[in-house]
Symmetry: C2
Subunit: 470 residues, 2 copies
Amino acid sequence: MKRDKLIFIVFGIAAIVVGLLASSVVDRKYEVTVQKISPMGEIKDFEADNSKWAKNFPLQYESYLKTRDGASKSDQLEQDPALVILWAGYGFSKDYNAPAGHAYAIEDIQNTLRTGAPKTAKDGPMPNTCWTCKSPDVPRVMAEIGPEAFYKGKWASRGHEVTNAIGCADCHDAKTMELTITRPALIEAFDRRGLDINKVSYQEKRTLVCAQCHVEYYFKGKGKYLTFPWDKGLGVEDMEKYYDEAAFKDWTHKLSKAPMLKAQHPGYELWQKGIHGKRGVSCVDCHMPYAAKGGVKFTDHHARSPLENVNNSCQTCHRQSEEELISNVNSLKKTVKDLKVKAEESLVRTHLEAEHAWKNGAKKEDMKEILTLIRHSQWRWDMAVASHGGYFHAPEETLRVLGTSIEKSKNAQILLERLFGKLGVATPIKLADVSSKKKAQKYIGLDIEKLKKEKEEFKKVQVKKWMKKK
Amino acid sequence: MKRDKLIFIVFGIAAIVVGLLASSVVDRKYEVTVQKISPMGEIKDFEADNSKWAKNFPLQYESYLKTRDGASKSDQLEQDPALVILWAGYGFSKDYNAPAGHAYAIEDIQNTLRTGAPKTAKDGPMPNTCWTCKSPDVPRVMAEIGPEAFYKGKWASRGHEVTNAIGCADCHDAKTMELTITRPALIEAFDRRGLDINKVSYQEKRTLVCAQCHVEYYFKGKGKYLTFPWDKGLGVEDMEKYYDEAAFKDWTHKLSKAPMLKAQHPGYELWQKGIHGKRGVSCVDCHMPYAAKGGVKFTDHHARSPLENVNNSCQTCHRQSEEELISNVNSLKKTVKDLKVKAEESLVRTHLEAEHAWKNGAKKEDMKEILTLIRHSQWRWDMAVASHGGYFHAPEETLRVLGTSIEKSKNAQILLERLFGKLGVATPIKLADVSSKKKAQKYIGLDIEKLKKEKEEFKKVQVKKWMKKK
């Protein structure tokens, strides 16, 4: 009877396993049902409080909150002190960290030394335009007063109004949940190019909602009107020409006195030049791919590098192992870094040599061509690296642009060498030691400790007040 | 009865169609059967006459013969006169055409001005090593006398022995038909790197048979021993270091006097750096993909650009349309060309300025660093472009290398500018007009008409004799 007993036990176990499986299926069905029968709560138009959307979209909201996870915010100036010299006289030389997630947007802009420590609404280095990409409060306020009025005035004047970090209402219509373009600058840029942004496909919108912010832009005129410089095209040379013809500069370089351009984060423009862009793979496909939980498929709102999520992003199309795919990306990164470092070294030398020329009696007309070469060289370098992902989105274009950056800064050095000859200055010039963040910031005359202290005071007083009003 | 008649007609037509289809199937089966029952003819070891292999492998041979089709042989010096200056003092400045197919190998090397017009077996500019990649006669003769004896002596001394164009015995064993490495240089290069070429997979062999010739190589020592400079690695910088430590130069530049390196056709090395190489896609997969004829699947021996055969090559893996795939490749080509042209312009200027420095009293020690920069800059440019397909095989590496080429030639120009100051030479230097092949060849002192005339005489007398002996 031993055998009968064994069969009995096996059957018993099998029954339990089947029962558990069935229960799991029922569970999932239950979750789906709950989701389906939950009444949709009313969300008011331009609702900027992301948590208000959470009741209707718990999975999306839950994943969005993860954009607070694992942000290194590592100090880029520490890691690459050349940046301090390249941005001398501009905010980025004070403070520049690795990008953190969407949910950090408000506290990051409050905390960075770049926005200064304004004591009143009329104080500080930055205009209100700086808020544009930081919060769903922006479309809310813009809907009331229009973009022109929004951009005007100092950044401190709207700190009390813009308090919710990038979230739902930046890309979604509160009534229909449809993807929607909330920022006028993108719509206007399309318009000037004769394109109607309302006539794009759903798949294109999955890129364009990101292109509201992850683009090159500038603050136009006295009203600091947010504008994309796309009228002549989206290429590096097209935008350079646009800026040259507009005689626009972001700032005057503190050492070389060159009229500089700061590339912002031209992710959209570079993506277009690469193979993923050409194949119509959208930003969302890789940075916010579909996920499943409790039987429900949803868009993962934990916007992040696909390298942290290879199985849901890359491997949807690519059959290689995670290890191989990551190694391919790292190989591109290494290749691009080689030229990037060369471009930076050359630019640092050029700025310092130009400074030396001014100090030794160079005239404005001696420097004109040199300064234009510096402007163009740094613009190209910055365009190649500022969007971070360029080395992957469009490695060929990124490398091409870095190559032309090197060509131009070297051409400036040739002219400087000639000028030194004319001025009777001995060459090669012995360059100052700017090999660490500290040394470089000291060289360009920044008192970082003072700035930090002022910032702490600002956070204690102003920011506290702003966030209370919320 | 009209309807019955119609049905009758339709049935009749259907019967004919079925009959035709059946006949086609039978036909194909017949072809396959014929192929299978044809007795394999004996082919002797190292059989260099490709037509002798044709009886056993008619489809392969027939497709091989197509390598004579559509060769443009377009004049690259005409299209890009900078090349004449870059190669001044070296054979390539005389004559350089777009590559033609394998079946042209012998007549091309006989016809090019680069091999000169030797009148005797001891005459002429090139050694026998030049034959190494041109013919299946080479492994045949090497099997008799060994590689060392083969390489020795002037190119004209073996013209009567090497008469069959690249073909079957270059890559196949006559008895087993297995892919086989017939050229010692590749085996030796693997050996020096501690690798056993006999232990590679079949798929790797589908690349390595091509890597016998489509690589960077040089003629080592007085015996002009064919050698691959891979001992330190296959990267551009690795090989540059190898050559520097060996104090090797291919020639002394006629204008700048720089100790130059000529990159040959480093297709294999660059392929490794790109995504197709990393994925293990072999040369044969794209350049000689499978084809089918008469129900028989065979390797298409019409080795050519995959762009002429997108459906059998690219589309085996890529699902995009032919039009889209070709446009992607052309976009890479355009991106790389932008930096290539900049690298060439910069190098031309550097050679001409260096020439000017010599003419104005520059000393050897003034020029040392400048000439090293020129050597390295041109090596990198040449490595990036000489294999033709680099822009596609490894666009990122190609662009990186071009970027470093520009950096180095510009650094040379900075030093030249300093030197001109020291020599009291006014700058900028007005460069000679070398904007056409004719002007450039005249500038570097070539009498092309004379060379052409001598070549014609050589063909009438020597080549006729050589080919008769066949």
